[in-house]
C-alpha cells in the first residue's frame, strides 16, 4: 500500500473521530444521548444468606473494601467456570495490589447449590472466590437489588438450566456501584477496571 493512500485513510479516520466526539458532545448537551453507564442511584440490598462454609453472611460483607460480585450456578458449563478462572488470573496478575479485593460467587440456583457444593466447586478453582447461597427468597432479594437478570429454562425431562447476567459487578468500599466487567472482556481492560476499583 502506498504511503499516500495510508495518509488519506488516516485523515479519514481523524474526520470520523471528530464527528464522533462532536456528536457525542451534542447528544450529551441536548440530553438525548443514551447513558452508556446506567445512572443508578444505588444498587444493592440487605440480605441474610450463608457463605460456602455455612457461616451467616449479610450485605455488610460487601462494605469497607472493594468487592467483585458474580451471579452464577454450578450447573453452568462455560460462563461460570471461565469467569472464576479469569478472576483467579486477574488476582494473580494484580498480586499484592489486589489483596484488598473480596470476590463473591452468588448462586442464582440455590435449589441445587448447597454450601458444601459451592465449597467443593469453588475452592478447587480459586482460594479467593467465596460462594454465597441460601433460601430462594433471600437470593431473589439480591438478584432484584443488583438488577440481575435470571430465568429458569426448562429442559425436556423436568431438568432445567438458567439464563443469567454474566457480568461481574464492581462495588466500591462505600457500597457504591463502579460498573461491570463483561463476560469475555479483554484482560487489560478488566485489570484496569479492577485497578480503578482498588484505588477508590
Amino acid at each position: 500500500m502506498q504511503l499516500k493512500t495510508i495518509r488519506y485513510i488516516l485523515w479519514g479516520l481523524v474526520g470520523v473521530a471528530v464527528l464522533g466526539v462532536g456528536g457525542a458532545y451534542y447528544l450529551n448537551k441536548t440530553g438525548s444521548g443514551m447513558n452508556l453507564v446506567p445512572m443508578v442511584a444505588k444498587l444493592g440490598t440487605p440480605f441474610n444468606l450463608v457463605d460456602y462454609n455455612g457461616e451467616p453472611i449479610t450485605e455488610k460483607a460487601f462494605e469497607g473494601h472493594p468487592t467483585a460480585l458474580f451471579f452464577g450456578f454450578t450447573n453452568c458449563p462455560e460462563v461460570c467456570p471461565t469467569t472464576v478462572y479469569e478472576i483467579s488470573n486477574w488476582l494473580t496478575t494484580l498480586g499484592e495490589e489486589g489483596e484488598p479485593l473480596r470476590v463473591f460467587f452468588i448462586s442464582i440456583d440455590p435449589e441445587r447449590d448447597t454450601p458444601e457444593m459451592l465449597s467443593d466447586y469453588l475452592k478447587a478453582q480459586s482460594e479467593r472466590v467465596v460462594g454465597i447461597t441460601g433460601p430462594q427468597e433471600e437470593i431473589d432479594k439480591l438478584v432484584l437489588g443488583w438488577r440481575v437478570f435470571t430465568r429458569k429454562v426448562p429442559l425436556d425431562d423436568g431438568d432445567y438450566t438458567m439464563d443469567h447476567t454474566a457480568s461481574i459487578y464492581l462495588v466500591r468500599p462505600d457500597g457504591s456501584f463502579q460498573g461491570t466487567i463483561a463476560y469475555g472482556e479483554d484482560t487489560d481492560v478488566a485489570i484496569e477496571k479492577l485497578r480503578l476499583l482498588l484505588k477508590s
Partner: protein, 169 residues
C-alpha cells in the same frame, strides 16, 4: 506494515493447520470428518460439561447432529449458548444441528456445544473420554475426546478462532 501482517497471518494459518491435528487424528464417518474433539474439564461437584469439535460434511446432502451418549454423563444433548447483551442464554437444540452439504460447523465456546449433563464424575485435564455422537445420516460415531483445563481450552480456542479455522453455516 500491511505486508508484515499478511505474512504473520499466513504463518499462523500454517501453524494452526499443524496444531489442529496435534491432539487427535480426524475421525472420518461416511461423508463427515470430525476434528479437534475436546471437553472442558470440570470442577468437583460440577454436573455439566461442554464438548466441542469441528464437523465437515464432504457429501452433497446435509446431515444433522442429533445427540450422543457418554458413560460419564446421564444425559448428552446438543445446546447453543448465546450472549444477548450482558445475559448468557442457553438453549437445547431439540431438532439437532444441521451440518450443511459441503459445509463445516464448529462447536465452540460461546456457541454450539455438546452438553454433557448429570455428570457422575469429575472430568480431569489430560484425560481422554469416550463419547458417541449420533448423526441422522452418518449414524453413531465413536470419538476419543481430550479433556483440557479451562485455561488451556480457552487458549486453544482463541488460537483456532484467530486463524479463521472455524465457520458457522
Amino acid at each position: 506494515m500491511f505486508k508484515h501482517i499478511a505474512v504473520a497471518a499466513l504463518a499462523l494459518t500454517f501453524s494452526s493447520a499443524v496444531s489442529g491435528t496435534a491432539f487427535a487424528d480426524d475421525i472420518v464417518a461416511g461423508k463427515l470428518t470430525i476434528s479437534d474433539p475436546l471437553i472442558r474439564a470440570t470442577a468437583p461437584k460440577a454436573r455439566v460439561a461442554g464438548g466441542f469439535m469441528t464437523i465437515t460434511n464432504h457429501g452433497d446432502q446435509a446431515d444433522r447432529l442429533i445427540g450422543g451418549t457418554a458413560s460419564f454423563a446421564g444425559k448428552t444433548e446438543i445446546h447453543e449458548m448465546a450472549m444477548q447483551g450482558e445475559v448468557m442464554r442457553m438453549r437445547q437444540l431439540a431438532e439437532g444441528l444441521e451440518i450443511p452439504a459441503g459445509g463445516s460447523v464448529s462447536l465452540m465456546p460461546g456457541g454450539y456445544h455438546i452438553m454433557f449433563m448429570k455428570l457422575g464424575e469429575q472430568l480431569m485435564p489430560g484425560e481422554t473420554r469416550k463419547v458417541t455422537v449420533t448423526f441422522e445420516k452418518a449414524g453413531e460415531v465413536a470419538l476419543d475426546m481430550n479433556v483440557l483445563s479451562v485455561g488451556d481450552l480457552k487458549k486453544h480456542m482463541e488460537n483456532k478462532h484467530m486463524h479463521g479455522d472455524h465457520s458457522h453455516n
